[in-house]
Symmetry: C2
Subunit: 192 residues, 2 copies
């Protein structure tokens, strides 16, 4: 047991772990399964991670950090029109959720399995992401595009979007863009 930095090897292992965590769930994924998927023996795992919980934390950190970057990029790329920004945010959210899917499903489902310290650290990242949403919602409210309570609306919207991982079929006829269109149309007052 030695490192907790982010070597390239560790990044790769984290990616593989995310996949297994999605397939089996955190608790049902044994260190032996993880090791086999990674092509090493179970003992060697603890050279890269202090314990099993740290693997989970690494997966979730990766995913959340990615989501933040993508959302910020999407917002910076569009003008200041509230509708456009709302749209961009929804699209960015769905894109991360459905392409970099594994890490996000883990973040959504296995959050409670984190150790208190890890949860504390990661909740700051998550809050930063949610703040982006609240800001965009605020703008849409100010522009009269939607109505209601800023806190509730942003929670409802994020709920609707996060729930997609339960039913969305990437091989079906609908693209993530379609979903974003539909959602924005549903909550805005002006016709699309």
């Amino acid at each position: 047991m030695n490192v907790m930095n982010d070597s390239p090897r560790r990044k790769e292992l984290t990616r593989l772990a995310a996949q297994l965590f999605v397939q089996e769930g955190f608790d049902r994924t044994t260190v032996r399964m993880l090791a086999q998927e990674m092509g090493i023996k179970s003992g060697s795992l603890f050279h890269h991670f202090r314990d099993k919980q740290e693997i989970l934390a690494a997966v979730i950190e990766e995913g959340t950090q990615n989501a933040l970057v993508i959302a910020r990029k999407a917002l910076s790329r569009c003008d200041n029109e509230a509708g456009t920004r709302l749209h961009a945010m929804a699209r960015a959210h769905l894109e991360t959720l459905l392409t970099d899917r594994n890490a996000h499903v883990v973040a959504l489902y296995e959050w409670r399995r984190l150790s208190p310290e890890a949860r504390d650290h990661l909740s700051h990242l998550r809050d930063a992401y949610e703040a982006l949403w609240e800001q965009v919602i605020d703008e849409a409210l100010a522009a009269g595009l939607i109505r209601g309570d800023r806190f509730l609306v942003s929670r409802f919207v994020m709920g609707a979007l996060n729930w997609t991982v339960r039913w969305y079929d990437p091989d079906g006829p609908r693209t993530p863009d379609d979903l974003a269109d539909e959602l924005v149309a549903m909550i805005t007052r002006a016709p699309a």
Copy 2:
């Protein structure tokens, strides 16, 4: 090992199990923890349930059946106006979700842990519940109250509602009714 009927004792044990499953998650809840919470020894548990999975199935069945009954009652109690019915449905959903909370959280989080047979059986119950939603959404679409695709809208709405178990604080200032009001207002075109 003998019975799989629904004795009153079994109902009570199921309720207690739901609470533990929420607190710890299904996998982390051991039969010894369950037994202790129930005031018996771990071996005695298997007099009431064939195995641990059956306890989970019982919890989820209870919750889903309850939700169905409550939603049907709520719908039958209101007139045929689409807005009223949409409202009633949202309120019923939130009420079951936030009062009979335990069973529903388990159903949402631990669905994947069910054995294939149990999942098959319970998915029929769940489908019946979702059909209620799609029907109400259909009526609202026909009345011009909301717009969009019936499938997507109902999924978005259920996502927004189910997500509430993540952030809603029953001791906070907002009542379940407040949430239902806000959600309906968010997605309908006409002013509240």
